[in-house]
């Protein structure tokens, strides 16, 4: 489904991605973990073409992601941005229904609003937030609106950049379950970035750990504890000593 090979990206002399290789199959839920600033968000944005990589190839369904019809390519994707990235000039439901009312579907306003409210309900938001503006919501609520927008058009591939950061533990559980449901029921392919180990266990089929610009370990979730990989072990146990320098 998604095939990333030898991906490089630097910002000036900051070499963020230094040869990422990663592949995921259709209907799989991949979770990416790694320290802050290791380039996880940059990786997702590179796949979407929001950041142009320096070198390397990205294949989606066997086709080069950088070539061909951008609209058709992006129509397969939903993306939850780390910061929410809600349009603050539009109300909450118009944010969620943004793609539904435009593009190929062009649903009528009432129908689109109905779907938006249903998606908001799935992320634990009541219908009365639909007409508010993003700036009037709490951080965690904004995150969930972003999540609702990412899943609104029922895309084939969904990227979640830290979906549970800033949520309370109960709401985190709800969101973890929702992501799992989307993968299982809708057959979507999901790539999730998270720092939350309970999310990893709830969501992942496969895990990839990124450090120093490359994938240090990747494998199925049930091998996470027994990998023997020093980077992964240090990360999972939250130790300050190990191959990952704690003071950077």
């Amino acid at each position: 489904m998604i095939e990333i090979s030898n991906l490089h990206k630097s910002f000036g002399d900051n070499h963020v991605l230094a040869g990422i290789d990663l592949s995921m199959a259709k209907g799989e839920s991949m979770v990416i973990i790694g320290g802050s600033g290791t380039g996880k968000s940059v990786l997702l944005k590179s796949v979407l073409g929001l950041i142009t990589p320096d070198s390397g190839t990205i294949l989606v369904n066997g086709k080069d992601a950088t070539a061909g019809d951008r609209d058709a390519f992006l129509a397969q994707f939903g993306m939850l941005f780390q910061g929410g990235a809600l349009f603050d000039s539009l109300s909450v439901w118009q944010n969620v229904a943004f793609r539904l009312m435009r593009g190929e579907q062009k649903l009528h306003k009432d129908k689109a609003r109905e779907i938006a409210i249903e998606k908001l309900r799935r992320v634990g938001l009541k219908a009365n937030v639909a007409d508010r503006f993003p700036a009037e919501l709490s951080g965690g609520m904004q995150k969930r609106v972003g999540l609702a927008r990412a899943i609104a058009a029922e895309p084939d591939i969904i990227f979640f950049d830290e979906p549970t950061t800033g949520l309370d533990p109960i709401m985190s559980g709800v969101i973890n379950e929702l992501i799992r449901e989307i993968v299982v029921e809708m057959g979507a392919t999901a790539m999730t970035i998270t720092h939350d180990m309970s999310s990893v266990r709830a969501i992942a089929d496969k895990v990839a750990m990124i450090h120093d610009g490359i994938v240090q370990w990747t494998g199925p979730i049930d091998q996470l504890e027994t990998s023997g990989n020093p980077y992964l072990d240090q990360f999972l146990n939250g130790r300050a000593e190990g191959p990952i320098e704690a003071v950077r």
Binding site: L50, F81, A85
Partner: protein, 261 residues
């Protein structure tokens, strides 16, 4: 050796940087105009911008114009008195307002009011990843943000200039008839007889050009914004300065084109 060459290298680098940025702006403008004619179109966005750029700018345009027209009448009267030519007030106010001050003042007011708000809004969208979000939702930021703003300015700023010209002339009229003893009917008649079609056409063309410059600079610098609040501040400042300078430069070029004999 280096001590002698360094200043030249610096000048050369600066020149190249300026040329490169002019090139980028021109490319950006060319892309915008291509997108104007290619679907999808966003009529709702256009309507919102017409209201925002046009209607809501009326108060500031009216106030600027009336005071300028009034001051102009006083100056021309005082200046004209030095060689017994006080009577030219209506004619000179009309020409001065319509050919120059109307379009330039409206252009600068739009740069202050509209360019800054466009740049700040789009720059904020950029730094909060809203532009990226637009792209992932299959919406081209240029079509959705730039085209409606530039098109709205193209349509509505000439109208604002027409309003500004008229109110400016009225300002002159009020001072001339109220304070300087001009006859009401004769003043208007003189104004009307003196103005030529070309004066009005040049005024509206200038308005259209200045409107496009103002909106385009706001969008361009907004989308170029660097990260963080500082990036937004810098984008806003640069856009207003660039729009103002370009408007004054374009005014000179258009004046040459219309009126150099």
């Amino acid at each position: 050796m280096d001590i002698f060459l360094t200043p030249f290298a610096a000048i050369g680098a600066a020149t190249l940087a300026i040329l490169a940025s002019i090139g980028r702006v021109v490319m950006y403008a060319a892309q915008t105009f291509m997108h104007i004619f290619r679907p999808p179109f966003y009529p709702r966005e256009l309507a919102a911008q017409l209201l925002h750029i046009g209607y809501f700018s009326l108060p500031v345009v009216g106030l600027t114009a009336i005071f300028t027209g009034a001051a102009l009448a006083l100056q021309i009267y005082a200046g004209g008195a030095r060689f017994n030519a006080e009577a030219v007030v209506p004619q000179i106010v009309a020409v001065g307002m319509v050919r120059e001050l109307g379009p330039v003042l409206v252009g600068l007011m739009i740069a202050a009011r509209v360019t800054s708000s466009i740049a700040a809004e789009i720059a904020t969208m950029k730094v909060t990843e809203q532009l990226d979000a637009l792209v992932t939702l299959s919406t081209h930021p240029m079509k959705y943000l730039t085209v409606p703003r530039v098109l709205a300015a193209l349509i509505v700023v000439p109208m604002l200039v027409a309003v500004g010209d008229t109110i400016g002339i009225m300002g002159g009229y009020l001072v001339a008839t109220g304070r300087l003893g001009f006859n009401e009917a004769a003043y208007l008649q003189n104004t009307y007889n003196f103005l030529e079609i070309m004066d009005v056409v040049s005024s509206l063309v200038k308005g259209a050009a200045f409107g496009v410059i103002a909106a385009m600079m706001g969008c361009y610098y907004g989308m170029q914004s660097e990260r963080g609040a500082q990036g937004v501040g810098k984008a806003t400042k640069t856009s207003v300065v660039a729009a103002s300078v370009l408007i004054l430069a374009a005014n000179y070029i258009l004046t040459e084109a219309f009126f150099s004999a």
